[in-house]
């Protein structure tokens, strides 16, 4: 490496390689250039490091869990579609089961619109928790995609069974200590532990929900 090569790389801000270092150690002019460059780079880094707004990290975390704007928009669509105008939580059942119902009411449409994941990836993602083949023994999978749920990644499955549609939320990272049930606004949810993780089942008929839960655990 000669001085020209060294200075060309330095001027572009490339990290010093072993070749560059070897040249610098035997060239006092380039060594001086390196010191000057270091001072400029420190000033540059400081200039680029704009202050992070207060609460940014918390808001970034929340953006992963829910996009507030989309959350409200989806809630509005769900309310209009259901013809209920407005709603308020009435029940005080199992919190995770209630969250599953809330997901179906507010987030399911959005999740479907965002598109499904490829089958091979779904098989791999669910393999350790609730194998896709086991789900398909119960009904026809209409949609499957990852989604933010309860502070972690869950897999949203829309399943068509002979009695209608049910929604599964497969939660590989959350394992409930005991089963939970909830009912709200014509929807019923049951969350049960799996050998690894949990699954929430939501449907409009409590008997169908219980039947799907039984089949999944069988």
């Amino acid at each position: 490496m000669n001085c020209l090569d060294y200075r060309r790389l330095l001027a572009a801000g490339e990290a010093e390689t072993a070749d560059m270092k070897a040249h610098r150690l035997q060239c006092t002019a380039c060594a001086a250039q390196f010191v000057e460059h270091g001072e400029f780079e420190r000033e540059l880094r400081s200039g680029m490091a704009v202050e992070i707004p207060p609460g940014f990290h918390e808001r970034a975390k929340n953006a992963i869990l829910f996009s507030r704007r989309r959350f409200l928009a989806a809630a509005g669509v769900a309310a209009v579609a259901a013809g209920i105008g407005a709603y308020a939580w009435l029940g005080r059942d199992g919190p995770l089961a209630m969250a599953c119902i809330e997901f179906v009411m507010k987030e399911e449409g959005k999740s479907i619109m965002m598109g499904a994941m490829p089958r091979t990836e779904a098989e791999a993602a669910l393999a350790g928790t609730l194998p896709l083949a086991r789900i398909e023994r119960i009904g026809q999978v209409k949609h499957i995609a990852p989604c933010p749920f309860n502070g972690a990644t869950a897999y949203h499955v829309v399943l068509s069974v002979p009695q209608g549609k049910v929604t599964l939320l497969v939660m590989p990272e959350s394992r409930v200590s005991s089963s939970q049930q909830a009912g709200y606004d014509g929807l019923y949810a049951s969350v049960v532990a799996l050998p690894r993780g949990s699954v929430g089942v939501v449907g409009s008929d409590s008997a169908v929900v219980n039947s799907v839960v039984g089949a999944l655990r069988a």
Partner: protein, 162 residues
């Protein structure tokens, strides 16, 4: 690595990168939030964990371009930059002010290099240009900054540099 951990590690630099693209704090935050939501949904499909950081930066870039498109604003292109020459330069600016005076076509690769720690080759891949063109932009960006801050840099003006 969980997506949440990846975000925790890089969120600050993603925000700063978005800021140097948009030059607006609120817009930078909006861009990052939208980018994180998209990233979160796509993360299970990311095959190379080693590429996760550049992948996140690329999502922020795409989100910025999308925001510009929906606002009917044209992001500055690679071709339309006009580097400040010595006559136009206003020497003695603070580094932050000097950076703000750089066109986006200079500031963007610089932000990727300084904040993201990416090499010229990686930046070229992210911006869809050649490594040589990226090196030229980075070199000219530094030259422009040096011209802007050199004669009476802020520290000198404040008498702080010894």
């Amino acid at each position: 690595m969980r997506f949440e951990d990846l975000v925790r590690q890089h969120a600050a630099d993603l925000y700063r990168y978005a800021y140097w693209l948009a030059r607006d704090r609120q817009q930078a935050e909006d861009i990052v939030q939208e980018a994180l939501l998209r990233g979160w949904r796509a993360y299970p499909r990311l095959r190379e964990q080693a590429a996760a950081k550049s992948w996140l930066f690329s999502i922020v870039r795409n989100e910025y371009l999308r925001a510009m498109e929906s606002n009917a604003r044209q992001p500055e292109s690679l071709q339309d930059f006009d580097p400040p020459d010595e006559r136009a330069a206003n020497p003695g600016l603070e580094m932050r002010e000097a950076l703000l005076s750089l066109p986006a076509s200079y500031a963007e690769p610089l932000a990727l290099q300084v904040l993201g720690g990416f090499s010229c080759a990686e930046i070229a891949a992210m911006l869809g240009t050649t490594e040589g063109a990226t090196m030229t932009r980075l070199t000219r960006a530094r030259q422009a900054l040096k011209r802007l801050v050199a004669p009476g840099s802020s520290k000198e003006r404040k008498g702080g540099r010894s």
